[in-house]
């Protein structure tokens, strides 16, 4: 691509020196195709894409909005990395994303550009160095400085047009659940493991009935499947650490943990833990849980244990993890991520799977056995999943049962919340003002909205001109007033964004880059400075650059 551009400018230069009419500008910029998903599936995205296209047209760009379903969009953006211009995209918040590494490294490091999540093809050696450094920096404050620096580099380069962090809105019935015990986890919301364990019944109803619009794919500790599935795995299986309500990892099945040196973590297992089938949990089980993904049969967890060089059992309660290289994210991305599984159940299964083409993701246990605060009771596909409190757990839930209903119809879910058939609205993608109205009308319905770790954005294909020019990306980004988007597309239920690290992650978020100055004037002056010119209402490349991609 660069070579083509260089040739283009050389030709233009020759034309100018040959005494022909001096070119005042490069070629006209081709029509830009902006991808979005359909209105029916993603009403907010559809809305903000229209607004953004409008702003860009004002700059003299021809913008065509291309609507396609997610499967098609993902296929184009992910598997045909050279074939698109700009696309709307989103990241959802998950507890593990409370550590900044996953987002700041995988989305932007040049090594993930060919086939990983850096599908935009962003490449900046300075950023690569900083995100590599934060990965191995185990001193939290020094790491914070690096994470802030990375965000500043990204803000200057604008590889993406960061749009908003949505405010996820949930509701619950305060006459059923004591509001004091419903916990808001930073960046995740009230629908989290701390609430599910700690929620105290306020009356006779001791079952929590909650909803999801998405069906459950599987209940499997070795498969990262749909988002809803992860609510269940987090409750049925324990982990050594858990992400606390403050977004930082804290001891869970581990009684304590300590860094012995830069590459060694010592973990002391809580005593007296047992699996749901009554067998005791041992340090061998823990070792097995971390070694299982090292084989071929658990591909999705393999990246999280890749840095473990050796697992040493010191005594009956102490485990030492020796790492191949220092890793700051090890606690969050490995110890708080890998589910503890019983060796007596999974060892024979994995041995058998090794002889077949299937892997652990294909193995659905009849009755999943974990050690977590909830036991599995039943699963009826497309209808409900029932868990019951594990009274023998070291942190037993206060409720009796946790019943997840699959309800694809949002209006029906609201109606059920109103009638009491649901007492915890854990999934709501409808208009938040409608939910606000319901909460205003019924005293027992309490609303909780939280700024998400996830975000909505518009990704530029940094491989393709004109998006390979940081000045051009900056101008396009600054042409869009984020407050307008928050109001018009999200009805106020979002906060403007300029960083992949959400303000919900207060410790890691760089406040210095908040409040990006926007407006058509800012955008136009940036373009002029960089040599772009509007001729006959159409934006042209700077002098000497020709359009290599016109169709």
């Amino acid at each position: 691509m660069w070579k083509q551009l260089a040739t283009g400018s050389a030709v233009a230069l020759m034309a100018a020196t040959a005494g022909g009419p001096a070119l005042a500008a490069g070629d006209e910029i081709r029509e830009i195709r902006l991808l979005s998903r359909p209105q029916a599936a993603q009403p907010q995205e559809f809305q903000f894409v229209q607004l953004i296209a409008q702003e860009w047209r004002r700059l003299g760009l021809e913008v065509e909005v291309d609507i396609m379903p997610w499967e098609q969009m993902a296929d184009l953006v992910w598997y045909n990395r050279d074939a698109w211009d700009v696309t709307a995209w989103q990241m959802v918040g998950r507890p593990e994303r409370s550590d900044p590494d996953e987002l700041i490294y995988n989305l932007f490091h040049s090594s993930t550009a060919p086939a990983g999540y850096n599908f935009i093809g962003y490449s900046n050696p300075e950023l690569d160095a900083v995100v590599e450094a934060q990965r191995v920096e185990t001193d939290q404050d020094a790491r914070q400085a690096l994470i802030h620096q990375a965000q500043a580099i990204l803000s200057a380069d604008q590889p993406n047009l960061m749009l908003v962090h949505p405010r996820s809105t949930y509701a619950f019935n305060a006459s059923v659940w004591n509001p004091e015990t419903v916990i808001d986890q930073s960046g995740i919301g009230i629908k989290n493991v701390w609430t599910f364990i700690g929620a105290e019944p306020a009356g006779d109803q001791r079952d929590m009935v909650l909803n999801s619009a998405d069906t459950v794919q599987g209940i499997n500790p070795l498969w990262i499947s749909g988002a809803t599935d992860s609510w269940i795995t987090e409750l049925v299986w324990d982990r050594l650490l858990r992400i606390g309500p403050d977004g930082l990892p804290q001891p869970w099945a581990a009684e304590s943990y300590a860094w012995l040196d830069e590459t060694t973590v010592e973990v002391v297992l809580r005593s007296g833990m047992a699996w749901h089938d009554g067998q005791p949990m041992t340090v061998e089980d823990v070792k097995f849980s971390f070694e299982a993904p090292m084989g071929e049969e658990v591909p999705m967890y393999a990246p999280f244990v890749g840095n473990i060089a050796e697992i040493e059992l010191v005594d009956d309660t102490t485990i030492r993890f020796h790492l191949a290289e220092p890793s700051a994210a090890f606690l969050t991305a490995t110890l708080a991520k890998v589910n503890l599984i019983p060796q007596h159940i999974w060892d024979p299964v994995l041995t058998d799977l090794a002889t077949r083409p299937e892997n652990a993701e294909d193995h659905q246990e009849e009755v999943p056995i974990g050690s977590g605060p909830f036991r599995f009771v039943s699963w009826r596909i497309n209808e409900e999943v029932v868990l019951e409190a594990n009274a023998d757990h070291f942190s037993p839930p206060l409720m009796d049962r946790w019943i997840l209903r699959i309800i694809p119809n949002q209006e029906a879910a609201l109606g059920m919340l109103r009638s009491g058939a649901l007492n915890f609205l854990s999934d709501y993608s409808g208009d938040p003002t409608v939910l606000e109205g319901l909460a205003g009308e019924l005293a027992e319905i309490e609303l909780a909205s939280t700024t998400d770790i996830g975000f909505r954005y518009v990704a530029f294909n940094n491989r393709r001109p004109p998006f390979n020019d940081p000045a051009f990306r900056n101008a396009l980004s600054r042409a869009v007033n984020r407050d307008l988007i928050v109001g018009a597309a999200f009805r106020g239920f979002a906060v403007p964004s300029n960083s992949v690290i959400s303000p919900a992650l207060g410790f890691w978020h760089n406040e210095a880059i908040d409040g990006l100055e926007t407006g058509p004037d800012v955008a136009q002056s940036l373009l002029e400075e960089a040599g772009y010119e509007v001729i006959g209402g159409r934006l042209h490349y700077p002098e000497g650059i020709s359009e290599a991609l016109s169709e």
Partner: protein, 312 residues
């Protein structure tokens, strides 16, 4: 019949592979590595050529293997069997209600031809027949569930209810109360066809000589209409019932979504939108098989109900 099924299987295979999109889209995640992508592709045989995939697919089909769902990672057959009974109960229940009402009302309207009852009845039937299912469903939900609270608003049973097998579930009051509104919605949607069919058949039959004969014999009006007229007008309605059962195997996507009914329709839509070729193909193939079989049943039934057909 085998040829029809082969043709359906082939068309299904091609349709899903020609659809834009990629079944791996569901897996895209920041921690998704190249090795994982390659492993997934190999796991589902997507690395083989289309022709190889097709041969493998036919070979597996002949052995009764529908393959594994990409989305649920479980055998397609067992997934379908989990939701098919719910769809069957809903479809059969609503069809039976619709046909009973349709047949009786159709015969009655034919009998009352030219009176004000017909003038009122036909527009009512046409209106309810034309009303969209989702709208009827939402209205019924709003009235009988949200306002009066007589019926639950979704699902096939109460949260956390436990049952010993399908029979216990389907005979429970809990299940029937959940079934009522979706079945009513579908019955309202379906009843137009048997009703209008019955009515026009009745009008034909009532002009036949044997009806006039019956009247001349001095039989009561009831006997003429029901025993001589309706019985003969019923034949085509019965065949249409057999067809309708076949077509309803696919479940009603709309009604299942409105009432959160755990049936085949919702599973099918999910499979298609997730690019889950195996599940969608398997489900459609099963439906096609049922339609073909029900056609056969309709033909045979006709022979039993009307001996003239088999003699011809």
């Amino acid at each position: 019949m085998a040829f029809v099924l082969w043709a359906v299987a082939t068309i299904l295979f091609l349709i899903f592979r020609l659809m834009p999109g990629n079944p791996l889209a569901a897996y895209i995640d920041p921690t998704f590595t190249e090795e994982q992508q390659a492993a997934l592709i190999a796991r589902f045989g997507l690395d083989k050529s289309l022709f190889e995939q097709y041969l493998l697919y036919l070979w597996n089909l002949m052995q009764g293997q529908l393959g594994d769902s990409f989305f649920y990672r479980q055998p397609v057959g067992s997934l379908i069997l989990q939701v098919l009974p719910n769809t069957l109960v809903l479809a059969l229940g609503s069809l039976i209600v619709a046909y009973i009402i349709g047949v009786i009302a159709g015969a009655y309207l034919a009998w009352k031809r030219g009176t004000w009852i017909e003038g009122l009845g036909i527009p009512v039937v046409l209106t309810t027949r034309a009303a969209p299912e989702f709208w009827v469903g939402m209205v019924l939900l709003a009235v009988f569930s949200f306002s009066f609270g007589w019926f639950p608003a979704g699902g096939a049973s109460s949260p956390g209810a436990e049952f010993d097998g399908y029979l216990d579930l389907y005979l429970s009051w809990d299940f029937l109360s959940h079934l009522f509104l979706p079945a009513l919605t579908l019955a309202i949607y379906f009843h137009g066809l048997p009703l209008l069919l019955m009515r026009s058949n009745m009008l034909d039959v009532m002009n036949e000589d044997f009806v006039t004969m019956a009247r001349i014999k001095g039989l009561s009006e009831f006997s003429v209409v029901v025993r001589h007229g309706a019985r003969n007008a019923l034949l085509p309605v019965m065949t249409s019932f057999a067809f309708a059962v076949g077509y309803q195997m696919q479940g009603s996507v709309v009604v299942e979504t409105v009432f959160s009914w755990p049936g085949l329709g919702r599973m099918l839509v999910g499979a298609v939108s997730a690019g889950d070729y195996a599940l969608a193909q398997g489900a459609f193939l099963l439906i096609a098989a049922v339609v073909v079989v029900m056609n056969l049943v309709a033909d045979l039934l006709y022979g039993v109900l009307d001996p003239r057909v088999s003699h011809a």
